[in-house]
């Protein structure tokens, strides 16, 4: 055997440089898209005589609308991101918003209007409906997590079942009647910039949890190689239960903010929110095959989502086209993710 010591020291041919975080790509995407709208805004009068040249970005009102629009689905996306990182998916969040909105709101009504589900429970302190809405979401998430972790059915099926069931609960609760007229205090969650603050606060909180705690390491480990996590002694089932419960609770928070903002709860609330939330995560670089992505990516993805929506309106593009283009963007984001993985696999 030759001098093995030197062989062990041979520099491997593969990557030495520090990895380029995927979030940078998303950020570049966000800036590019915003600049495209900015330019189009200035040259727009060339083909539309009814509109004066104007800035897209330098408009306080527009920026606050963009952020406000994505805040509620963004809260859901924070939870969905964590589920996707474990290698799962949550299709139930939109319906859970509906159910949590109805049940939570029924504890928020003011005595001036007592045609509620619980006629005697009026003028409750706002902590009660808030806790009820979040708890509803958490229970739904707990059931999702239990099904995925312990019955081993695919998360797609488990949460699809919850999607239908939770919407059913929302409809059954008041036989389809909306619940309105909350107490004055209840409006606090949805007024002004509060939804944005709640979104940003939760995003920061869970970003820190994913980056710096045991919870984060294990979430990534499970999504990356569930078997490795298991033989390393991680209680995979219990961890999945926790992640899905958190995602459900965040859907509950979204319901709280939504009902507070709209001063009403309707059984149809939150329809398709799960898809917007998943799209935000995917556009933000969260890999649907698990193990990769971050809350920062999802927040950037949410902003891209908001900028595109607002930009289309800004350019006067028909709402029908908007949906078609949005769908295409989601597919492109997934194609980009798959291409990234193939490249990485070739390198290894």
């Amino acid at each position: 055997m030759a001098d093995v010591g030197s062989v062990a020291g041979v520099a491997p041919k593969t990557v030495h440089r520090r990895q380029w975080p995927g979030e940078v790509n998303v950020l570049i995407g966000l800036v590019v898209i915003a600049l495209v709208f900015e330019v189009l805004g200035w040259i727009q009068p060339a083909w539309r005589s009814d509109i004066a040249a104007q800035s897209f970005l330098f408009n306080k009102l527009r920026l606050s609308i963009i952020i406000g629009q994505v805040a509620i689905t963004g809260i859901i996306a924070v939870g969905v991101t964590q589920v996707i990182i474990t290698g799962g998916i949550d299709l139930s969040s939109g319906s859970v918003v509906g159910a949590a909105a109805m049940i939570g709101m029924s504890f928020a009504q003011a005595s001036t209007y007592s045609r509620a589900v619980y006629p005697h429970l009026t003028d409750m302190p706002i902590i009660v409906p808030a806790a009820v809405a979040i708890l509803c979401g958490a229970v739904a998430g707990f059931v999702n997590g239990g099904l995925v972790a312990y019955t081993k059915i695919p998360s797609f099926i488990a949460t699809l079942g919850m999607m239908v069931t939770a919407r059913g609960v929302a409809n059954w609760y008041t036989k389809g009647q909306p619940i309105s007229f909350p107490t004055d205090g209840y409006t606090v969650f949805g007024s002004g910039l509060h939804p944005v603050m709640i979104f940003v606060g939760l995003a920061v909180l869970f970003h820190l949890a994913l980056r710096f705690t045991l919870y984060g390491n294990r979430t990534y480990a499970i999504g990356s190689n569930e078997e490795a996590a298991r033989v390393s002694g991680i209680n995979v089932e219990r961890h999945l239960l926790l992640v899905y419960t958190i995602a459900g609770a965040l859907a509950g928070v979204a319901a709280l903010v939504l009902t507070s903002k709209n001063l009403t709860a309707q059984a149809g609330m939150g329809v398709m929110y799960e898809l917007d939330a998943i799209a935000m995560a995917v556009i933000g670089g969260v890999s649907l095959s698990g193990g990769r992505g971050s809350i920062i990516g999802t927040v950037l993805g949410a902003l891209i989502f908001g900028v595109i929506t607002s930009g289309f309106t800004f350019l006067g593009i028909d709402a029908y086209y908007q949906q078609i283009i949005k769908g295409a963007i989601i597919v492109i984001a997934v194609i980009a993710d798959v291409a990234r993985q193939k490249r990485a696999a070739r390198r290894a």
């Binding site: 093995v4 062990a8 491997p12 990557v15 045991l214 990356s224 991680i234 193990g291």
Partner: protein, 255 residues
Amino acid sequence: MSDIVLETRGLTKHYGGVHALEDADFTLRAGEHIAVVGDNGAGKSTFVRQITGVEQRTAGKVWFGGDEVTFSGPIAAREAGIETVFQNLALADDLDVPSNLFLGRELIKFNLGPFSILDRKAMRERTQEALTKTAVKIPNLSNTIRNMSGGQRQCVAIARSASFASRLIIMDEPTAALGVQETAQVENIIRGLKERGVPLILVSHNLRQVFDLVDRIVVFRRGRIVASLAKHETDGNDIVSYITGVKGAEAGAYA
């Protein structure tokens, strides 16, 4: 007697009607490196799975460190001090090197249950130490495993076992998928373990490697141990004839 690290008596595993492992008697002494060889399906991996608690044996007894043991799972075996480098690497591709080394036993700075704050700095330092000790060179510890070569990944997996194994390391074909240089690197790590007196069971197809590295060679054939030979009393041809059944066809148990 007291220097026996691992001993099995009549270890047997049946998968339904398939007798994958039959009546295996095996002894490993302190500091000893033993190779387990045999054809595909001879029972090597089955044998490993019984001692590491990945599967539950059909019959027989296992003593580890003088105590009779029955491991309920790989985690119990690991807690007892048996570290295994599995054929399919038990690494999380999307975590960095320290997180992989400490997967399932992370160092904590501040205990908050599942949200305990990780002590990344300490994990990094201990990883650096472990890699130095096993002579593994990884250019950048904060890179994810995904972007590393097969050899680097295998080295991380072995360094992980070597840095925690207090009492026994089992490697199931650690160089099966590696190139020449990478294989040399892994073999170098194994020599380091020998110097440190860490006992090893090496499952391998590579007879050159086996004769290079271990003290004793145990041959499996059709679920039975047909030979257990000290390296100096045998040679490649001898081992091959045991593997193929030319010799030892009448074999019973060897201690």
